[in-house]
Subunit: 508 residues, 4 copies
Amino acid sequence: MEKWDSNEGTSAFHMPEWMIQFADQKQEFNKRPTKIGRRSLSRSISQSSTDSYSSAASYTDSSDDETSPRDKQQKNSKGSSDFCVKNIKQAEFGRREIEIAEQEMPALMALRKRAQGEKPLAGAKIVGCTHITAQTAVLMETLGALGAQCRWAACNIYSTLNEVAAALAESGFPVFAWKGESEDDFWWCIDRCVNVEGWQPNMILDDGGDLTHWIYKKYPNMFKKIKGIVEESVTGVHRLYQLSKAGKLCVPAMNVNDSVTKQKFDNLYCCRESILDGLKRTTDMMFGGKQVVVCGYGEVGKGCCAALKAMGSIVYVTEIDPICALQACMDGFRLVKLNEVIRQVDIVITCTGNKNVVTREHLDRMKNGCIVCNMGHSNTEIDVASLRTPELTWERVRSQVDHVIWPDGKRIVLLAEGRLLNLSCSTVPTFVLSITATTQALALIELYNAPEGRYKQDVYLLPKKMDEYVASLHLPTFDAHLTELTDEQAKYLGLNKNGPFKPNYYRY
Amino acid sequence: MEKWDSNEGTSAFHMPEWMIQFADQKQEFNKRPTKIGRRSLSRSISQSSTDSYSSAASYTDSSDDETSPRDKQQKNSKGSSDFCVKNIKQAEFGRREIEIAEQEMPALMALRKRAQGEKPLAGAKIVGCTHITAQTAVLMETLGALGAQCRWAACNIYSTLNEVAAALAESGFPVFAWKGESEDDFWWCIDRCVNVEGWQPNMILDDGGDLTHWIYKKYPNMFKKIKGIVEESVTGVHRLYQLSKAGKLCVPAMNVNDSVTKQKFDNLYCCRESILDGLKRTTDMMFGGKQVVVCGYGEVGKGCCAALKAMGSIVYVTEIDPICALQACMDGFRLVKLNEVIRQVDIVITCTGNKNVVTREHLDRMKNGCIVCNMGHSNTEIDVASLRTPELTWERVRSQVDHVIWPDGKRIVLLAEGRLLNLSCSTVPTFVLSITATTQALALIELYNAPEGRYKQDVYLLPKKMDEYVASLHLPTFDAHLTELTDEQAKYLGLNKNGPFKPNYYRY
Amino acid sequence: MEKWDSNEGTSAFHMPEWMIQFADQKQEFNKRPTKIGRRSLSRSISQSSTDSYSSAASYTDSSDDETSPRDKQQKNSKGSSDFCVKNIKQAEFGRREIEIAEQEMPALMALRKRAQGEKPLAGAKIVGCTHITAQTAVLMETLGALGAQCRWAACNIYSTLNEVAAALAESGFPVFAWKGESEDDFWWCIDRCVNVEGWQPNMILDDGGDLTHWIYKKYPNMFKKIKGIVEESVTGVHRLYQLSKAGKLCVPAMNVNDSVTKQKFDNLYCCRESILDGLKRTTDMMFGGKQVVVCGYGEVGKGCCAALKAMGSIVYVTEIDPICALQACMDGFRLVKLNEVIRQVDIVITCTGNKNVVTREHLDRMKNGCIVCNMGHSNTEIDVASLRTPELTWERVRSQVDHVIWPDGKRIVLLAEGRLLNLSCSTVPTFVLSITATTQALALIELYNAPEGRYKQDVYLLPKKMDEYVASLHLPTFDAHLTELTDEQAKYLGLNKNGPFKPNYYRY
Amino acid sequence: MEKWDSNEGTSAFHMPEWMIQFADQKQEFNKRPTKIGRRSLSRSISQSSTDSYSSAASYTDSSDDETSPRDKQQKNSKGSSDFCVKNIKQAEFGRREIEIAEQEMPALMALRKRAQGEKPLAGAKIVGCTHITAQTAVLMETLGALGAQCRWAACNIYSTLNEVAAALAESGFPVFAWKGESEDDFWWCIDRCVNVEGWQPNMILDDGGDLTHWIYKKYPNMFKKIKGIVEESVTGVHRLYQLSKAGKLCVPAMNVNDSVTKQKFDNLYCCRESILDGLKRTTDMMFGGKQVVVCGYGEVGKGCCAALKAMGSIVYVTEIDPICALQACMDGFRLVKLNEVIRQVDIVITCTGNKNVVTREHLDRMKNGCIVCNMGHSNTEIDVASLRTPELTWERVRSQVDHVIWPDGKRIVLLAEGRLLNLSCSTVPTFVLSITATTQALALIELYNAPEGRYKQDVYLLPKKMDEYVASLHLPTFDAHLTELTDEQAKYLGLNKNGPFKPNYYRY
């Protein structure tokens, strides 16, 4: 029965096949996946940050020497060699990147300031495995300022910004990461973070679950000292729920992926802008008057629809869920089946998290010049494989843009080969990354300082009050002024003046 | 800790003071409240339906005779006198109202059609206490078509449409209700529904909790045969949670107030339109270029802000919750404290559910001609009492419009004396009432047919699948075509092809 | 050839048939038209002001005595009897109406203030023929403050507010008007304004052209002393262009109808709000998800489409002009022929100025419950006459709302019998009337003070600089702060610092 | 007086200083301007097309040989050497670019089809001077298909796509243009188009006026045979009005720059999209919640404001013209002076056509990180020169992005050094270029076929009917269906069924 029941966090969670398959496949993570496989292991919204504003720098080191960092002898200016990066000499350049990112991550900077008196992470030994970007660096240095010791590896073999890694190593962080790691390098780096003489982690910050699994496999005893895991990604969170369900989770874990603030920014607000950006950068098309079908009216679909409608497109929506479907109607979109409009639309956008939403049959019926792209969770939404047949010609017309040409000359414009448009063809604003990083920092503080017994060996959502705190730290960016409850009002509403302000089931 | 915990449905529910006070006061419900008190007992979105489209008719019977219906002898055309209405002769007129309402409540009509084969409510004996309007009549006759026997009283002493009550009585429904009941009449009518020779209810449909409480007080033994309670109002639901918490709830109860579909329509979609309607009907003002402050950015506030922004107003928002505040920022509204803008705005709208959000101090600082109104939960949001002082002159310039005049000549335009603008000065579309009524019908079916043990003596939310079903029944109104999952897709997503499609915590 | 050529103001003007026919018919204006005819003579945006905010008062005098004002002996408190109104005793009530209107017409009040030093209309003897409402009273009293003497009649036999007329008479204005004049009364009143011992007008302010024509017919010699005509209505302007073309215009005339500011407010801004208001007040419908077709994408159509789209309706547009059609596309509306969508839409709105845009054939194909209304220029857009056939039943369900019922039970909801929805079923905000009145006042000042030779016997548009001045007088309402050009910038742009700021052909 | 007067096309035109200065400077066009000067000579919306979708190709030839095309001997496959391009061997590549452009220029393709029967340009000898891009090639080949002979030069020394020029040369068009011409080359190319044995132009298609002036200076006698000039740019049009005013214009000229359709697309529709695109590509910023001030509320400002508001920005507007200011208010923007908000905004956008709108004083007061950019007519709107002072540091952080750093560390983000953002940092959609090219083609047809006497030695706007025709040719792109007037309706409206549908002064 559908009340908010006790094990909802775990058992009531949908167990989609793609997650199960994926998790199974991950059990064999000692085997060496192909690079493609590797890449798909990590959900990585920040992956695109390799392309981001402050990182023009990184384009310059492509001509670097080819020696593996593992074979190099490097020391930072203080004489330490407890790190492994591409080139320690790039540190200064990376430092500038970090400084620019600091300007746009006021919440973490505010945390640092508050930490000048007390050190909520004093004694914390955090091992981390995330994308290594300027924004991550701001997070790591904030954790340091809060009292923590950190060791860090990359969660993705491609996404490391070498200059940033160098800057972190230079300022004393044991970082093990570079752009273009092999699979073997990948696990070697993780191991170097964990397997250290005289240092044992008591906190884990993970993005994708690889670090967590490595410790499970290789150093299960470490969990005795570990106070908790903070996990950011969909995939990693799912693995944790599985462990919990199987009774194998041996420390508390915090699912920061599903916190309200992070969700809204990752999906609704970010996609509302990146759909336009991604389409423009790839095709220079005009939105006005174009007919668009958006498959799926969840947060991502809502963002895409709102943006395109505002730009003068005519938007149709497909949905399987009648509640979301009714929302689409009330928001002014015609709800159709894909077949009804497939011949007439200029753009097809998938936002479902489902597979084979756009099939070969649909692709066959599209009109000449139709643009097809994916904003959803996985790269299976468009059945791209079905287009790899002899009678169709593929023509790469631009980076991330393919023309698929039918025998009669019809061209379909496929973006990013069906992978996520917003990650491939636009960038994630630092502000969105700031929200994620702040959420991670607060989750670490909470787990590290929680009194005995508050958290059991289970997966938890970020306490709503902390979620609210993340939001409040970002309000000054907008010069936004929050109203405070009077004592009388707080009593009337039965609320604490400092929150939380809403019941857990509130929908925002 | 903030996971979706087991007793969230009950204990985690905020226990605001105004509810507690109210509930206390209700313990003495045998005493005779004043009429004002009476009116505030019932949350009643449909109350405004006295003013609605199809009911122009009701204005005509104001010159009716003054004999109390309790003193009249009336029979319907089949000879039955098991009812008590104002005037059975108005039945034909009421029937036309019902027929018009039927046209706009396709979901209930669809339920009737499906019920031609099976009768899911066969054997059900439902006692109901709701507003008695054409829309309610469509609900009652649908319940009848589904196999139920019904007896009905009004949940509000003013809201009954006498013609509709007559029409129901004429077609055989034992209805006990008229417009302008006394308090004594009110309880008498409820008692006549319940206290019958040879008939005992096994289901309760309540709106406000008065019927439920009456049975608790007077006929507690009846609960032995009662399979469940369906409650629609905020107040009634709160009482049920209190009973549950106190261990005194002796049957399962369904909280239909918080179902997703109903909530979205009662708040976001309905208010998006009614804020414009209410302001226009009362003041004929122009929205373009006006500066407006909206206090509170929940669903109601979101609806008001979106509508006014779309009409060219410049909208400021106040909030206490940082998450909602951040949403306001991302939606393009400046987040301010009320004091910052109070001197410059043309309109002040409260949507908080809080008290004294607009104080006398604010009112003193507003500019000449400023319009003040309330779209929130209670009539305490604006401190209207503070305006009842000798130095201020009140001038009624129109129905629902007062000018409050300061000694220096400044006029504040107060709408509906601070009561709910959308209920007082606009109407609720039948489509919104259709969603509520369908939700009620499905909740009755579910509780009545649930296998032993599915529901305990607790308060439940409508199963998500049923919530989805309500939505799906309303899609044909928009000629909306839902997509069905393929088997392969359902397996991939780990979903049943017929839903539910989302986890409980999904935020929509 | 299509340059901005010399006689564009007159000869290049389209000469639509309905204007020609109408004008012809008007040649016989001595004959007594039917009341219906009379009403349609005057374009009257302010006609609806009988229903407006400040005029609740007027509802009370319906039970007045039936003596014709022409047969009454009335004197104002100063002993004058040079007026003819319904009841001079209502003056005080009317005065309050005028005072409220003054608060919302800041531009005229500002003109009065500036006039304290100089009197730009000193010596002006203005004869006027307009709707007589509180807003007109503010205009008349402003003209008085500027130095003019005025005599006034009503341009419409129904639209006079008797209290306001009484208030004007009481304060010394010779006003000849009451609600419910006969045709004979109508011309008698006009004659009483013009045909006076020892007073001869030197300026005409007209709305519809009846006053102007009366003088042409009866007192052509008066034109020797008349310095100019200010005309507000489409019809009146057209008559003037005809006179000009025929070489019969013997004084300069100012077409204030086509000034930019007035046009935008009468059409785009006003209709954007009144379409929603008119639909809600008549039908209480919900806009979200409704399918609407708007016929015509001029300023009125643009306003309607924008408003409905913002409220979540799905809007289709029909157009004959490819440029407007392309605009509709770029604004996100599907451009269709009416036949393509007539079966599926929930609402049909005409905004064309054309005739028979919605034909009986269309009406036959609409779905049950479809709402049909007209926002365009004339009442011929919907072929209402075609619905007056024996097989169709008309049912008046509300004021301004008819159900037209087909033999199979299908009901079409026809609003205002096809007349203008915004005038019949909503109100015109005082702010819009303020813009019109200010434009009229400035046009009178300009014509009265223009040096010999600036204006010939032709029809002129309001000088752009004056149009800009009208706008600037209304900016303080929005607390809007205009930027001034520096000397350097003015030189760079080749502009005078005080305007005009745009070439004549600028499109805004 | 402000009626649509006879010489409005010429004399009433504002004569801004920057145009006069510029024109003066142009009198000496034989002298060799600097490259910067050269570039600013031509208004060039299509200039940015070097960056456009279909032109990825052009990036490849940067390593080309350095021999001047003037020194090369090249022949096309048919043996002709009457052309001068960078490298005839690139023709095939250029042909593909042209084919792709053809797909997006359906209006020109439709013209070709209609020309299969008659050749409206048979006998026309057109000399052209425009940007040479794939879109221009589609225009030229269309003119050829319509019967014309063409010779072509580039109007800008940088904007030629070499492959396209090669493809045109290969298919027989005498083209004289390459990317990176010297000033001397520039005039040499023009001369080679004009000064040919046995061929004399009878039509001119110009973009910027350089070709026209060359003929005036060098071959004034040619005008005897020339039937007309079609000019696209603001600058070129202004020169023509000057010639006309001075009585020196010796053939009819068509100002296609000011046609309605072209204006709306160049300004409103194009900028509505390119403001977002330009900001994203340069800064990856998030729009939601940002405070923006837009200087100027003409078409460009309206487009920018609408887009940013839709993306959740809070937008302020500055204006000098009270009419546009009132529009801003009614559209929901606070109208301020720049000084009032300069300290708080995150973005400053100029759209005025004025100079020094953003001064050093403003820049000094902006907050850290404020983004400053220009969408207006000229690069003088932001006083960039004032930032070239010793105490400020410039840091190029990306292509088109400079940080200007104050002594206290404050950084202002200046885009495109104050030049036009939409041309520098985004691309012009082919659809917009299609509208321009179609307008040019129709203007040529009109001038070439006009009966003797229709056009005098003056500057004309495109006949409205042709403007409408351009629009109608682009409707099929949107699958838009125009409604046709019935005979009865046309008569009623006094219109020809084929248009024109509006009077000249209609504002759209």
